[in-house]
């Protein structure tokens, strides 16, 4: 018996001790692992110094103007401040320096702007296409798109000047490059596009002209922006390093503002490191709540087992106590003796409990990938202290029955006991109901702190449930007893009588119910939690694989499809302005546009009802896109233009081409004179594309004051693409610029036809003078019916916030382009934007809508891939340089199994192990004691002529009911608790209600296996004990009875 009690104390204390280690030691280790595994972009710190476009403006302070001309001091200071928090850890500092815009040579063309930039990580930001990077004064490299648009190539020379026609900075092109996609180009005013047609009003911007190190300062062109980013290498970081860095980074914002704020026009501090650390702390808090809940459940189980053991021990020693009392020993002395014995047991239990907790921690933490140290960081003090507290507390519980020794027995005591038990049960129920209501209202504390509701609620619900489940058992037993009375035999009635009339089984039944409930609840909750992490990951990623769009987006889809064999879609994902809701911040409205023709194959994320195909039906455009099918990888254009009235006019052409996956991009073709002569242009295109729009920027020169100048003039433009063919379907139409635009030219008619040499597009239009002298005329021919209205699905949050209903109209703005939309449906959330106020549209419809207004801005922000993909799809794409890839499966794995969440899984496993172990120990304790007390009865039955096997059957039947029914009832209670509580306990990594809402998961095989394990394990304990008891209870025992 003492061994069993000692085992319980060791088990209980080691469970709590292991949880304490998971709470104290593993978070530090987890934080280390998590930070090392975090992408470098998420652990960097940066600051951007902004300067005015006109530093000589009298409104600009001297300090700002001086820094705009020479920022070396400010940069050195910022660099030192950014690296300081990381102490001795290795860091990499990158700097972006760009100047204000300057004018390119006029050459009789519309105004054009460009700027200089200096990059100290050029190879990381761009891939050389031709030539080399500049390394001498006067040399420059520029993006291929800019070079093509400007007609520059290696060896070309140009200048940048303060005003149109000035030539202050002479540059020779020594290389062209393709910017690598990524956040590095966020610093660039053109975002790495190389060309922006509407950079300043109708003035096109080009750049950057990347110059050699130090040449920006030498050029004398004032700075517009300097951005520094410091990336620490956290591989060798200790927990102390991370803590120190966290504190230092937290203070960086104020320090940088204080030091540099008066020397810049605007200062933007970006601290992804701080955000990552705070997110990690949030996750740690959420995980801590789960671990503490397990510790509490483990302690409750151990306490229940010890109380059971205490009652059994006291029962066994009742005669001895009575004898001692009769001989004059006071109750205080008896209690003192019991306390000394319990204290000795507690002390005896401490060492093995500490060792077991340490071993369990090593095993569990190792199993979930935390790679624990042999001696946990932070030392063993928390472990030893917690084990000591638990063993002493459990020891104290052993003394409790002795406090009642000698109290009067009888009906009055029973009534008091019943009332007390009922009161305790009611109190438990009330507390459990309160905790449940708190959970339902989600009144839990998000963030880094451990939430008391998340900790206490499961414990209260399970303990109250166990107490409640036991209530009807006596009634059932009495019913069975009544039925047994009418039986002819003795075997089953004897079992029924034993169950119904021996109250000693209640404590054991409570333990078994609670333990079984803990085991099934633990398994169910773990499954629900894991499933929710997968669901949240699916909703967050929105698809199976997501990659940011390359700057030249066309053709990426083919690469993705070849590598994954999945369903590929270009995606628009960006904040939009919706009515008064501006872009940016938490309240920004996010627009997501995907190919909705096979939404179920592409979109991921569980919906409360229906599927994504239902939600997105009606978003895709009905009519086809026509266009001109190109062959090969280069489109040769022959452009011939005529202008009536001999007004000198040029046309700058761009082709909007669409690849096989529906991605569209405008490719500059070049500029031609509308002089009646054919001009050859060439555009490099990806294979298998078609032209879906032709954009023409018309410019004219002339004397606006000339009274003979006509007010309007007709023009025509003939674009022939040799070898191309017209695509069937679709109708060529002129785009309709927003009515607010100042119209200086318009298309009157568009004719598309196949001709012997290829496909020909003829644009007939009218130019309005003198407006065309002052600004370009934008004319776009589109190969489809113009789209004026985009059907969208809005998120429930957005619908709630704006009171939107199906059929309502909403006005969006994608940058400068207004888009009219109509609410076609409301979804719980929008894929990839689970918590945002967001809209979902079809990317083809959206693209047609923007092209219909002459907006050529690319809409492809990312690529999504859905379907049954190869396991190594993400790795293949990463290796191919298409990335970074966001893999839904990997995100889900990180959410469920990442170092910061791993302790939760370890704790759940610990709960199941502890519950099963304590069930077996409790069953052994109860059965041994119960059967020892029954041996005389068994002998009497043998004396009356009962066969041994018949008695054994009866004893086993009784024990089967006493243990088996509580196991099954507890299993059901665990399942019920899981159904009611697990979805409410499941929170996101930030401690928020998960999106989509958690749905209870039933791992039936595991649940059934656990219950079977409990039943079989208990049987393995009970059957040998019962057989031994029946064997020992021979009729010889009757001979030993006094007088027998």
């Amino acid at each position: 018996m003492l061994v069993a009690v000692l085992t319980v104390m060791v088990a209980g204390a080691s469970v709590v001790g292991t949880c304490v280690l998971l709470l104290t030691a593993s978070p530090q280790r987890a934080l280390q692992l998590a930070m090392v595994r975090t992408p470098v972009a998420d652990v960097e710190v940066g600051v951007a110094l902004g300067f005015p476009e006109e530093p000589d403006d009298p409104d600009v302070s001297e300090a700002v103007a001086a820094t705009a001309r020479d920022a070396s001091g400010a940069v050195a200071e910022a660099s030192a401040m950014l690296t300081a928090p990381f102490g001795d850890l290795p860091t990499t500092t990158t700097t972006w320096t760009s100047t204000v815009m300057r004018y390119l040579p006029a050459d009789g063309r519309p105004l054009r702007l460009a700027y200089l930039a200096e990059l100290d990580d050029r190879d990381a930001r761009g891939t050389l296409a031709t030539g080399r990077w500049p390394d001498a004064p006067g040399e420059a490299a520029l993006p291929t798109s800019a070079a093509r648009a400007l007609g520059l190539d290696v060896g070309s020379a140009t200048t940048l000047g303060e005003g149109p026609g000035d030539g202050v900075t002479a540059l020779t092109v020594v290389g062209t490059f393709v910017p690598r996609p990524g956040p590095a180009w966020d610093e660039d005013p053109l975002q790495g596009a190389g060309v922006s047609p509407n950079y300043r009003g109708y003035i096109t911007g080009y750049g950057p002209f990347v110059v050699a190190p130090g040449e920006v300062a030498a050029s004398g062109v004032p700075l517009r922006r300097v951005a520094l980013r410091v990336q620490p290498d956290l591989t060798p970081a200790t927990a102390a390093d991370l803590t120190r860095a966290g504190a230092g980074v937290d203070a960086l914002g104020k320090e940088l503002s204080s030091a540099l704020g008066d020397r810049t026009q605007n200062l933007v501090v970006d601290l992804p490191y701080a955000r990552t650390v705070h997110a990690a702390r949030d996750q740690r808090g959420v995980t801590g709540s789960g671990v503490l809940a397990v510790a509490l459940l483990g302690a409750a189980l151990a306490a229940t087992t010890v109380v059971l053991a205490a009652r059994l021990v006291a029962g066994r020693r009742a005669a001895e106590a009575a004898l001692l009392s009769a001989r004059g020993t006071s109750r205080a002395r008896l209690v003192g003796q019991a306390a000394v014995e319990s204290g000795a047991l507690a002390i005896l239990a401490m060492v093995p409990a500490t060792a077991l907790a340490l071993a369990l921690y090593q095993v569990l933490a190792g199993a979930v990938g935390l790679d624990p140290d042999v001696v946990p960081e932070g030392g063993l003090l928390p472990l030893v202290a917690s084990v000591a507290v638990v063993t002493v507390t459990l020891g104290g519980l052993l003394v409790l029955p002795w406090l009642r020794t000698g109290s009067t027995r009888g009906a009055r005591e029973d009534r008091v006991g019943v009332v007390a038990r009922s009161g305790a049960d009611l109190l438990l129920l009330a507390l459990a109901a309160l905790a449940y209501l708190q959970l339902r209202a989600h009144r839990v504390a998000g963030g880094a702190t451990v939430d008391p509701v998340l900790v206490v609620a499961p414990v209260l619900c399970l303990v109250a449930g166990a107490a409640l489940v036991l209530r009807p058992l006596p009634l059932l037993a009495r019913s069975a007893e009544a039925r047994a009375a009418s039986s002819r035999s003795l075997t089953w009635p004897l079992a029924a009588w034993g169950v119904a009339r021996r109250p000693q089984g209640a404590a054991a039944a409570f333990l078994v119910v609670l333990a079984s409930a803990c085991a099934t609840f633990g398994i169910g909750f773990a499954a629900t939690w894991s499933q929710s992490q997968r669901d949240q990951a699916a909703a967050t990623v929105g698809t199976d694989l997501s990659v940011p769009a390359q700057l030249g987006a066309l053709g990426t889809g083919a690469t993705l499809r070849a590598a994954t064999h999945g369903r590929v879609s270009p995606v628009t994902s960006r904040p939009v302005t919706l009515g008064s809701r501006a872009q940016g911040g938490d309240g920004a409205v996010q627009l997501v546009a995907v190919d909705t023709r096979d939404a179920d194959g592409l979109l991921r994320g569980r919906l409360p009802s229906g599927d994504w195909a239902d939600v997105t039906s009606g978003l895709a455009p009905a009519g086809p896109v026509g266009g001109i099918r190109l062959t090969g990888t280069s489109a040769a254009l022959v452009v011939t233009g005529h202008v009536a009235d001999d007004v000198p006019m040029t046309a700058t052409l761009s082709l909007v081409v669409q690849d096989g996956d529906g991605a569209r991009a405008a490719l500059p073709a070049g500029e031609v004179l509308l002089d009646g002569d054919p001009h050859d242009l060439a555009v490099a295109v990806p294979p298998d594309v078609r032209v879906v729009a032709v954009d023409t920027r018309l410019a004219a020169s002339g004397d606006a004051d000339d009274p003979d100048q006509p007010s309007e003039t007709a023009f025509d433009l003939d674009v022939t693409i040799p070898g191309a063919t017209l695509e069937p379907g679709g109708t060529w139409s002129p785009a309709r610029p927003p009515s607010s635009d100042y119209v200086v030219a318009a298309l009157d008619r568009i004719t598309a036809e196949d001709v012997p040499e290829g496909a020909r597009l003829t644009l007939d239009g009218t130019a309005f003078l003198p407006g065309l002298f002052w600004s370009e005329g934008t004319l776009t021919a589109i190969a489809f019916e113009p789209v004026d209205d985009v059907p969208v699905v809005v998120s429930a949050r957005l619908a709630d916030e704006l009171g939107l209903a199906v059929g309502d109209g909403v006005d969006l703005a994608l940058g400068p382009t207004p888009v009219s939309a109509t609410v076609a449906g409301i979804a719980a959330y929008i894929p990839s934007q689970p918590r945002a106020a967001a809209l979902l549209a079809d990317v083809d419809t959206l693209s047609r809508a923007t092209l219909s207004q002459g907006n050529l801005d690319p809409l492809t922000d990312a690529w999504w891939v859905g379907g049954t993909l190869p396991d190594d799809a993400a790795a293949t794409l990463d290796a191919a340089g298409v990335g970074p890839v966001t893999d839904r499966t990997a995100v889900a794995r990180e959410s469920a199994e990442g170092p910061l969440r791993a302790a939760q899984r370890a704790a759940a496993a610990l709960l199941v192990i502890a519950a099963i172990t304590l069930t077996f120990v409790g069953t052994a304790l109860h059965t041994t004691t119960a059967l020892e007390a029954r041996e005389v009865d068994v002998a009497r039955l043998r004396g009356l002529g009962a066969l041994r096997r018949s008695v054994l059957r009866s004893v086993l039947a009784e024990q089967a009911v006493l243990i088996g029914v509580p196991v099954l009832a507890g299993g059901l209670l665990g399942v019920l608790a899981c159904w009611a509580v697990a979805p409410l306990l499941t929170v996101s990594a930030e401690g928020l209600r998960p999106v989509p809402a958690a749905l209870v998961s039933w791992p039936w095989p595991a649940q059934v296996a656990t219950v079977l394990l409990l039943l079989l394990g208990c049987a393995a304990v009970v059957v040998p004990l019962a057989a031994r008891a029946v064997r020992r209870a021979t009729i010889a025992r009757l001979r030993m009875e006094p007088g027998a």
Binding site: A485, S486, S487, R488, S489, L490, P493, W497, G498, R501, R502, D937, R940, L941, R942, G943, L944, G945, A946, L947, R948, S950, I1035, A1036, L1038, R1039, E1041, P1042, G1043, A1044
Partner: protein, 233 residues
Amino acid sequence: MSAAPGAAVRVRDVHRTFGSGPSAVHALRGVDLDVAPGELVALVGRSGSGKTTLLNVVGGLDRPDQGSVLVDGVDVAALSDDEQALLRRDRVAFVFQTFGLMPVLTAAENIGVPMRLREAPVAERERRVEMLLELVGLAPHALQRPDELSGGQQQRVAIARALAGSPRLLVADEPTGQLDSETGLAVMALIRGVVEAEGMTALVATHDPVMIALADRAVRVVDGRLVGAAERG
């Protein structure tokens, strides 16, 4: 002691020793005893004389080291454990000094146990239990458990239980040992009455002179041997 033909109990040269070596206790030393059917025999002797051991051997609760015990012609010592159990179930009933009742069963349920062991029809069992309760005067206490009954009432329940299976042999060991004299007298009268009424054979170990007087004959046991008839009345 001569053996009566057709004896209900026939004990021949029975020896029983507990332990071995110098500390061995020779409980029975060559006991011979015949009990005729329907006879009530009292075993008389001091504590430790071997009365209980003889009863245990006769009732199949113990096995002799030597000799034979025939009950209704069946050699009890040669039976297996299960056969002995069946013998006790069908032919031999015990009444213990400490009553030996099942504490969780009511008086009626305790009385019904032997019939349940024989899987008697429910109606027959209920009738007999009712009759026996009437017989022992405990009908009003049928639903009370042993700890709610007095010692005498418990012993009467034990007797009723012993009779429930209609045994051929009733073995009683100090059935009045823990009862006051008045209750003991009532119990003894009950045993005498049911032995006559049921026509069973009874072997009763007792110190009580009243019981001895009520017996058909009394046999004295001294140091594990039968030393002749005891003085009666």
